[in-house]
């Protein structure tokens, strides 16, 4: 018992006091800024492994971007990744960053359903479904609940059963073999319920987008409430995105 208390004492303060304002360490690649510098656009587009970059003018679709940073390494005057990790949104089009654009990516309050704000503002229970995820987003979603990020303090928790959940978080490009279990899990979640796509694979299929082993029809049938880009997602991106979703609806 005394040993346990001693260990506890030795940990000091581990939690991040304010997850909405903290700076990430190192050279994290978050929201990119694209300048108006003239470059060989064809060469730039061909660098991207997932076709996230389109030309005239240059756009980067963060829903397709793997954040590998190769474009910024090849064209440092054209593209720079900032450490802005608040890149989750409920508007798919807001993930497409345009040349010259330098403002935060935010949720569109008008697209947040009224019941989300009313029902989940103080408490949100989520069921996670990995549908072909490579275990990187899964590790980061687990990290959201560890003592550092401590998402539970906002009443946001992952639960074991879809029947206890207010929504599902999908990772992975949704394989054919997971399409049916995903649908069953979603059907078992009581209304009202939300859908969150976590990571590039879930949002666009990522590097797997044109694989014949996928079945992404679930996404065509259902409305998506939050897109969280990243490869994998950063816990801070996820937590800030979900907090905005349950807090930011106005009127």
């Amino acid at each position: 018992m005394l040993n346990n208390l001693k260990i506890l004492y030795h940990q000091g303060k581990q939690y991040i006091p304010d997850v909405t304002k903290v700076n990430v360490p190192g050279i994290f690649r978050g929201r990119p800024i694209i300048t108006k510098a003239q470059v060989d656009e064809e060469k730039l587009i061909n660098i991207c492994p997932t076709g996230a970059i389109t030309a005239s003018p240059i756009f980067i679709d963060l829903g397709c971007c793997t954040f590998c940073g190769e474009c910024a390494i090849a064209f440092p005057d054209k593209i720079r990744f900032t450490t802005d990790y608040k890149i989750a949104t409920n508007d798919r089009n807001a993930l497409i960053v345009q040349q010259g654009q330098d403002f935060p990516i935010e949720l569109n309050p008008k697209l947040i359903r009224k019941e989300i704000h009313e029902m989940f503002n103080g408490s949100l229970k989520l069921r996670q479904v990995s549908a072909g995820g490579d275990n990187s987003c899964e590790l980061e979603l687990n990290a959201c609940s560890n003592v550092n990020f401590d998402m539970g303090r906002f009443g946001i928790e992952f639960v074991a059963s879809p029947r206890h959940a207010d929504g599902i978080v999908i990772t992975g490009p949704i394989t054919e073999n997971m399409a049916e279990p995903l649908q069953i899990c979603y059907d078992a979640t009581p209304d009202p319920k939300i859908i969150i796509l976590a990571g590039v694979d879930a949002i666009s299929g990522g590097i797997f987008a044109d694989s014949p082993a996928l079945n992404r029809t679930f996404l065509k049938r259902n409305k998506i409430d939050l897109y969280v880009p990243g490869n994998p997602i950063h816990p801070l991106t996820f937590i800030n995105g979900v907090l905005s979703l349950i807090r930011e609806r106005k009127g």
Partner: protein, 499 residues
Amino acid sequence: MDYISIKNNASIPLSSIPVLEYDTFLASNLYDLMNETQNHCVNYYGYPENGKIRLICCIASDDTHVINVSSTYVVPGISYPSFTAHLLAFEKFEREIHENFDISYSDHPWLKPVRYSYNRIDNTKTIANYPFYGISSEELHEVGVGPIHAGIIEPGHFRFICNGEQILHLEIQLGYQHRGIEQLFLKKKNLLQRTTLAESITGDTVVGHTTAFVNLWESLCGFQPDRDLQFSRTLALELERVAIHTGDLSGICTDIAYQLGSSVFGRLRTPIINYFQQWCGNRLSKSLIRAGKTNFPFTQDLARTLTKVFEAYEPDFNEMCKELFRMPSALSRFEKTGVVSEADVRKIGTVGLSARMNGVCRDIRLTHPHDLYSEIPHQPIVKHHGDVYSRAQMRRQEIGQSIGYIRNLMENLPAVNTNRPALASPKTNTFAISLVEGWRGEICHCAITDEKGELMHYKIKDPSFHNWLALAIAVRNNEISDFPISNKSFDLSYSGHDL
């Protein structure tokens, strides 16, 4: 000669692999495997060639440090005698060959589908009608778990047959994660796309699989990596081992409901993966390893930072371990739980942690060294009980060992080559193999190029491919409530298996 002997990361003309009659192929490979405990099969797979299927068998010899490669042709629809009848380790290889190419085996116990790949021969077989081993008994009952599990974890289905609380039999059905990665390696023509695929094989072993891919690719292109590239890869492999092992110790504590251990190990992992972010911008080290170059050279500053990270990590880690491994309530859950005997380990052909947990010293770092491992006097940590305790202890000790290796490596930082030659095109009609010891165990990538130097076939074997069966055997006669702790102590990959 019945085979050609090559070193790890060698590439050889495809035509130099001897083609044997199937009977000779079977007999000579079986002879090598059954008479020499130092030999084990690192990969056995097929690919289509002129209407037939060419089977390639790669057997690694631990004492001569080579890989013996041989091949044969078989015809779809025809039945052959199996390896499996003599060596259980081939059970899954042959099921895979059957699933993908319709090769039958006369004496294979059960040719069940492995992963329901999209390009399987028989599309009437679907994952929803998997033929589980069943029972008709009034005393016994079945418990089905998954594919979606209670935590944030990948999908797979576990079917238990229980006598009361006791597990008599467990069958593990996988395939839910199948994304068609091996075929995508052929379809995606650009090197960065392929590297991105390698990073996505399993997101918990990014360094392991990406190193296997780039080593293989550089070998195909005749590129000799500079010391600084090898240095980064070796260091990153050891650091990935530290990070994931720490996280696993946290998971093990969670599964015995020891909150303090779970929290402390969980938060100790954070500075390690944050360090990866400081190095390459990604907490799980995606974008760090590249073929023929590095975008993130290891600098003096990075070395100083890592030294500080370890200085802060070690006292807390050691204090926590000391407490955990002497706590009777923890030990009673660890000891003699989830045991796999040495005989079973050999039969199943497990690799990595799941082999070293019970007397089988299988470690590519020692036997087929790549990158800078030939300079590290590596002594694998081997345990002799094959239980949860052994697997937890190995993690504790391997973390200490890896930190030691990294410290030694950092004493001599190699100069960064700023004038690297560009990668040439891959050689034509070539076979290449790459083995890497990831934190979970041996990773094997094999590639074959065609007459234009394009990838014609790509084969990946994750350590989990064999190790899953060890978990199924481990839980027999355990209480079903001990399943989570056994499962976590193996920590196997679903996506690495399903590909």
